[in-house]
Symmetry: C2
Subunit: 556 residues, 2 copies
């Protein structure tokens, strides 16, 4: 019986770092070769990183990527891997430019064999919704791509191709495909993995083909690729999975007709977790990888953040420690005259639990001098305090070379409950897409994980249980200005994620006055969000590239 | 001979303000009626404003727009205008949703007559390049739309439809179109008007039809619609033009076969201007309308900006005065210990010339207190000065309710020669898309205009002629850190606007070391640009929605 030995490889490429990405791929091909692989499958745009955005419209970049692929094929041959079929993703100049587009290249997968490119597939379905702008930057392909290895017929597809009907998917069965190879750059989103498995499984059954789905790993700006690759046989049964949030290789043997013999059985989960536990763990892993990769890929050695004793900064600090280690995290307590004793002691308690450095920089004197000079009172004086904190954090960032983290959550960003150029300063926002109520859940989950491992709980209980406060005036709590967070998050989920109208939200039972207030706050803070730091997407509707609203906008 | 009397109407709608936009349209229909018009043509999305971005994906918004159009038709009938054919732009729910898209609506033009919608056209070609994301938010139409008035056959098209071949354009001649009505939302871009005229003229000749091209007017976030509507007869001759950068109505009579009898001859230019003078005047009008509309449409009463005595803040202040009047512009001199005497005196000279309020807020004391507390020196101390200026401007903005203007130019933004949360603070950046060398040209042009009108030159000569300096350390000038601006702007034009590669730029004769430095500065300041304020687009490649680059990006 004809068969091929297949390696599914999850890499973590850096956008634009073509030669080091390919050097990494070469290492993986070498490992796959040692395991007897005939075919090696990498993820979408594994040579260049993904998404490359408007880099795809620069011919110098595309040409370099294309030349590097040719060179990589020769390199594989020279290293003794020329017998293998290596499938790698990259942009390539399109033969015809789409009319009226900026796009000059296609999103391609090349098959490298015997020192050259023996087949090339161009992605047919270009996602142009959510965070994706592929119709902007790529020319769609319109031909199926099939090649044979050891008598096994392989067909190529790229990511969105399997999420839409029509196009090359429709030709899988007609081409007698035994093994469908799908290169993906699919960012993490809560509850997406079950959708992927269903899709891949249906594709396999409908077309009588094994399907290998390889995803990238790693953080790229506001996206985090979660790996979680899949291999199903032609009956739709799951036969192998890639690691979540880490690089790695999986091997299996695929026979004609799409039967799969896996090297090892699918790992069963070590202990039954509730869905909520499972989701929170995945989110935590997403946030730590997103932050960690931003720090590493942009060459930072450390981060600095303000520690207020509140839940947001506590969770951000814990994420940072899990992402880059405690020695690379620098906390600053920035008390004002309104800061409670607990806000200072909770910040120090957190730092001690995490083992991170903390120092105190009082904002009192700078605030006093400025308030006095400008005669500030009320809101302008409140904003001043937040801005002096931002000033200090950015000064420490400049002086000591840290990346500044901004600790705002999705709820705050939605309603503009933050001071622009104040608490919003920073290059990265670890919990930007996490609603306030989920911030608490994450804190509880992380503490529980520590308890289960016999470790110290990183987040002080007091930071979890006390009423949230910006502490910009005496005895202030968030709930003075905002609806209770449970209500606020529920309404925001309908309005932002669900795109519901005012009337639809009210018809589900929410008070009209509260709904109007929330919608008004969301609309009037669009200009602040537009100037916000990037942070990892975990939802179907993150702020940033997912939701593109005009600033000047009278619709409520 | 069959004929219709046509009114081309340029309105300045506010995005989302459907009822006030339609109330404005009703006034124009009334004026057109008084002039005997049979057909009234408004611009693209004239009912809702344009671009509506992701508002188009919210069914509540689209439904409201659609209902408002039905109501508007009844209103026209009730007001005695039911005999007229009124063509207006708006989104409408599409019958079929594009697969895998977020789009639920089409970009439509409706013909209102006898109290109802008698014809509706959906835009066929959806621009999805540059600042446009229409393939993201709209479902493309695929049918031509033709209707008859007084025996004259009219066909509808929307904007991009005439910039691409194929689609409904191809059916104009087959449908015996006498008059092609094109609704446009075409943002100002230097040298675009001649391209539009050529396009419209070619369209008319090729299809033996008169073509009426109506464009919107007004600023919407980073876009400025410049009006400049066109009417050509079937021989391609220009017969009427709309005003540049202002609302208004033009009437003409169109006969069968596409002959046009204009009400008045095309205005000849009052005096011959050089191309450069003409361009600078158009840019100035674009910038003043862009800023003015942002202020008015977002309900601000005034602006505040730092006046350094330098050319950028001087030009921004002059734009602001021309946009919203001198009484609404508040200048602040923010001297440090390094500020030269001339920087203070030039700022006061400017304020006096413009007649705007100016006050002095020294940054010395706040800087000294902060520097001392944090032990800052060198670059971190330089950045601190810029941030204290930002702190003061934002405090005054909060206290007094002004919109803060940030005065950075395109060259600075390109190479990151600015302090984030410092001189970059503000909600609007009037000269964001203006390269430094063009800032000087604009200043000279504006002064010359004043001289020609017998007015005081607004910009002090000294601000134009002195070497630019950030004055963050003694005797600093920009050219200590940057290549000369003439070189810098030339290289940036190749790299940013021309998308040339490093090698292509070097091959035109530029020094490799300088080119590498510029490219490296552009790449490493991407994160700062991402957090920048919006400002009016004047070029083919503005920072913002035109140029979408990853932050994490190793390609140079």
């Amino acid at each position: 019986m004809a068969k091929v030995r297949l390696a599914l490889v999850q890499t973590n490429p850096v956008v634009g770092a073509i030669s080091s990405n390919l050097a990494d791929c070469l290492n993986w091909v070498s490992k796959a070769h040692a395991e007897g692989a005939d075919v090696v499958l990498f993820g979408e745009m594994s040579a260049t990183g993904y998404p490359i955005e408007d880099l795809a419209t620069r011919s110098g970049f595309v040409q370099q990527a294309q030349d590097s692929i040719d060179e990589f094929a020769r390199q594989l041959q020279g290293a003794g891997f020329g017998e293998m079929h290596v499938v790698i993703g990259h942009p390539a100049l399109a033969s015809a430019q789409s009319q009226g587009h900026w796009a000059i290249a296609s999103n391609c997968a090349s098959v490298l064999h015997s020192g050259r490119v023996v087949a090339r597939y161009a992605k047919h379905h270009l996602p142009n919704y959510g965070v994706f702008d592929e119709f902007r930057v790529f020319v769609p392909g319109n031909e199926a791509c099939t090649f044979e290895v050891n008598g096994i017929v392989c067909s190529l597809l790229i990511c969105e191709d399997i999420w839409q009907s029509g196009g090359p998917v429709a030709q899988l069965a007609a081409n007698n495909t035994d093994l469908t190879l799908v290169l993906n750059g699919s960012p993490f989103e809560l509850e997406k993995q079950s959708t992927r498995l269903e899709l891949v499984s249906d594709l396999a059954q409908a077309n009588h083909t094994a399907v290998a789905y390889v995803n990238l790993v790693g953080g790229q700006d506001d996206l985090v690729f979660d790996g979680n690759s899949l291999l199903v046989d032609s009956s739709g049964s799951l036969k192998a999975t890639g690691a979540a949030f880490s690089t790695g290789i999986q091997l299996a043997t695929v026979e004609s007709g799409g039967a799969v013999i896996n090297d090892q059985p699918i790992a069963t989960k070590p202990h039954a977790k509730s869905k909520s536990e499972h989701d929170l763990a995945a989110i935590w892993n997403c946030l730590t990888l997103g932050l960690g990769d931003y720090v590493r890929k942009n060459g930072f050695g450390s981060v600095v953040l303000g520690l207020s004793g509140g839940i947001d900064s506590a969770v951000c600090a814990a994420i940072a420690v899990d992402a880059i280690g405690k020695d690379a995290v620098f906390g600053v307590s920035l008390p004002s005259v309104y800061s409670s004793d607990h806000s200072k002691s909770d910040a120090f308690d957190l730092a001690q639990r995490l083992g991170v450095a903390i120092r105190t920089e009082s904002i009192a004197e700078i605030v006093a001098v400025t308030e006095e000079q400008l005669g500030l009172t009320d809101l302008s004086a409140e904003n001043l305090q937040a801005r002096v904190r931002g000033l200090i954090l950015m000064a420490l960032s400049n002086k000591e070379g840290h990346l500044t983290l901004t600790t705002g959550n999705k709820t705050e960003l939605a309603v503009g409950y933050s001071t622009i150029y104040g608490d919003s300063v920073g290059g990265f926002a670890p919990i930007k897409d996490v609603p306030k109520t989920m911030v608490w859940d994450l804190a509880e989950w992380r503490n529980a994980r520590a308890r289960a491992a016999g470790e110290i709980e990183p987040i002080p209980q007091n930071s979890i249980t006390k009423p949230p406060s910006a502490e910009l005036r005496p005895d202030q709590v968030d709930q003075d200005s905002l609806p209770p967070y449970e209500q606020l998050d529920a309404i925001l989920a309908l309005y932002i994620d669900g795109r519901s109208s005012r009337q639809e939200i009210i018809s589900t039972g929410w008070d009209a006055e509260v709904v109007d207030k929330v919608i008004s706050l969301v609309s009037s803070s669009e200009w602040k969000r537009r100037q916000g730091a990037i942070g990892p997407k975990i939802s179907g509707m993150s702020f940033g590239r997912d939701r593109r609203m005009p600033i000047t906008n009278k619709f409520r």
